[in-house]
Symmetry: C2
Subunit: 105 residues, 2 copies
């Protein structure tokens, strides 16, 4: 779906248990209605030169910018972010209205 | 949709006409059947510290890894990549099987 996207790519610190982070994230998107869809993935075979140490991508979709703003200010997100930020070695965030050029059929 | 994702985030060089790049990309995904969906966006208001200079995200979805491999080796992609790489200041690529935690309804 189009909508407003919140894209996070990260490299976790070495001692981080990614499963624990994922559990927290699953709870987060389940608790917050404004999150319309959530998917993630781990690059397990890309070229190191091109992924530059980043390993995980997380993509959330909101109906619109207002939905995203509601998510950011939600107490569950504020709490989760505090934990998440301690687990991160590198991070890039991009937030944007999505332009769908070719839609899944 | 789930499937196999090809995620590209970039910072273009200053003199690049992004519309021209986008036109090439639209033709590419239109010409290559293996690309099941394609969306992109430009972060126009994120915090600079968090997006670290990156401005655009491009996300393609393939049915599976084989579809992605077919795309990478397609002559149109090879040709496009040569042009694309000259327009890039910074880039991160992540390729991964997508895990859908919350599906769009």
């Amino acid at each position: 779906m189009a909508g407003f996207k919140h894209l996070v790519i990260v490299k976790f610190k070495e001692d981080v248990v990614v499963e624990d982070i994922l559990k927290g994230m699953q709870k987060l998107v389940s608790d917050i209605d404004a999150v319309k869809s959530f998917e993630w993935g781990q690059d397990i075979e890309g070229e190191e030169m091109l992924r530059q140490g980043f390993t995980h991508a997380f993509l959330m979709t909101f109906e619109d910018k207002q939905g995203y703003t509601a998510f950011v200010g939600h107490p569950c997100h504020v709490e989760f972010s505090a934990t998440f930020s301690t687990a991160i070695d590198k991070i890039v965030l991009l937030d944007f209205p999505s332009v769908v050029v070719k839609a899944a059929t």
